[in-house]
């Protein structure tokens, strides 16, 4: 092991130990420290308000398929955090992905003429057929994931990622398969514009950016949760398009 690496090891270990130390503190009276593992005190956290859906309204109890017109109608609380309470972060997040996709296009500096293909000209029949079979299933699964994002685990990112996987597999197996740059761009832009547009519509009609302007319905039903499904659809298209774009660029470079 080189001397430099040894130094790096020592320093990194010191760093890890210092971080670890933060978990071993025993608090004095009235002092705040980190919670022990598994003892997160949700009652003292903002999360409690989200679980109760009582940030703006005073609400203590949410009942599946019963409670109506809650401030955030999603049954999946993570979703309501991602796409409603903290949807500004999410907007930032898809922006990051968008920037990365654009950046990769710039970095790789692709010219239209010399695009490479990953798939061999004679990729195996099994692979080809299998992926042909999988492709619609994956699309369907992806769609299900983002459409039911507010009811079950899943959501726009996950759905988008699955959809992108479908295209990735297709690109890996079929050398005739081609996605036009322009269609990706259009999907990307439209999805992004709709997300910001939803936010701006909230700003215009309700007075604050990304505010929910639709009825939230009954918890647990498909048509509920206000703009959350719309946002998730936009996110899914955007993430799907962007991941596809990234993969496409990396393959073609």
């Amino acid at each position: 092991m080189k001397f430099r690496n040894l130094i790096a090891l020592v320093i990194t270990a010191a760093f890890a130990l210092i971080i670890l130390q933060a978990f071993t503190i025993t608090p004095a009276a009235g002092e705040i420290t980190l919670n022990e593992f598994g003892k997160a005190d949700i009652n003292n956290r903002t999360a409690q308000l989200y679980l109760n859906k009582s940030v703006n309204t005073d609400n203590k109890k949410v009942i599946y398929q019963e409670s109506k017109n809650l401030e955030s109608g999603s049954a999946n609380i993570v979703t309501s955090v991602v796409a409603n309470y903290r949807s500004f972060d999410t907007l930032g997040e898809i922006t990051v992905l968008f920037l990365a996709a654009a950046g990769i296009g710039v970095v790789l500096n692709l010219e239209n003429s010399k695009k490479k293909k990953f798939a061999a000209d004679d990729s195996s029949l099994i692979l080809n057929t299998g992926i042909k079979l999988l492709f619609p299933l994956l699309l369907l699964a992806g769609t299900y994931i983002f459409v039911y994002g507010h009811l079950s685990p899943g959501g726009g990112f996950q759905g988008g990622a699955v959809i992108a996987t479908a295209f990735l597999l297709k690109m890996l197996s079929d050398n005739k398969f081609e996605i036009k740059e322009i269609s990706i761009t259009l999907v990307e832009s439209t999805a992004g514009i709709s997300f910001v547009g939803l936010g701006l519509y909230g700003l215009v009609t309700r007075g604050s950016f990304l505010e929910n302007f639709m009825a939230t319905g009954t918890v647990g039903q498909l048509f509920s949760a206000g703009i959350i499904p719309l946002i998730y659809i936009a996110i899914a298209f955007k993430v799907g398009a962007e991941l596809t774009n990234i993969v496409k660029n990396l393959i073609e470079a």
Binding site: N5, A8, L9, I11, T12, A13, F15, A16, I19, L20, F23, N35, F37, G38, K39, A40, I42, R45, T46, A47, Y50, L51, N52, K53, K61, V62, I63, Y64, Q65, A75, N76, I77, V78, S80, V81, V82, R86, D89, T90, G92, E93, V96, L97, L99, A100, G103, I104, V107, L108, N109, S152, P153, G155, F157, V219, G220, V239, N249, L250, A253
Partner: protein, 121 residues
């Protein structure tokens, strides 16, 4: 022993991941390995974040037919939402990094970071 594992496999384990990742970033010569290490660090942090919101014997924060009311014990949903964001950011950075590595490889024909020192001082 089991108790210890339960308690420390999440905090300690994720910090170990961060440690391994950090050491990898600081010591590996191959640029792709450096990026992998970066990814490892990200994973470690994400795990830690989720672990910080864990509540013993609680459910995923979804109100459904199994847990029809929010009276049931749920884990903290916020870290999960944060992790979702940070995963995407991590992915984006890694993808961009890989693209850069491809470009640098084109120029220097090597992945060894110690040979890539066109910019110094």
């Amino acid at each position: 022993m089991l108790n210890f594992l339960e308690e420390w496999s999440f905090f300690g384990g994720s910090i170990l991941l961060i440690f391994i990742g950090l050491y990898g970033v600081l010591s590996r010569k191959n640029m792709i390995k450096i990026l992998i290490s970066l990814g490892l660090m990200d994973t470690g942090v994400n795990l830690l974040l989720v672990a910080l919101g864990y509540v013993e014997a609680a459910n995923a924060p979804i109100i459904n037919s199994v847990n029809p009311s929010n009276a049931a014990a749920f884990v903290d949903p916020i870290p999960q939402a944060l992790v979702l964001t940070s995963i995407v950011i991590g992915t984006a950075v890694l993808a961009l990094g890989l693209a850069l590595v491809m470009k640098i490889y084109d120029k220097y024909s090597t992945l060894n970071i110690s040979e890539i020192r066109g910019l110094k001082w």
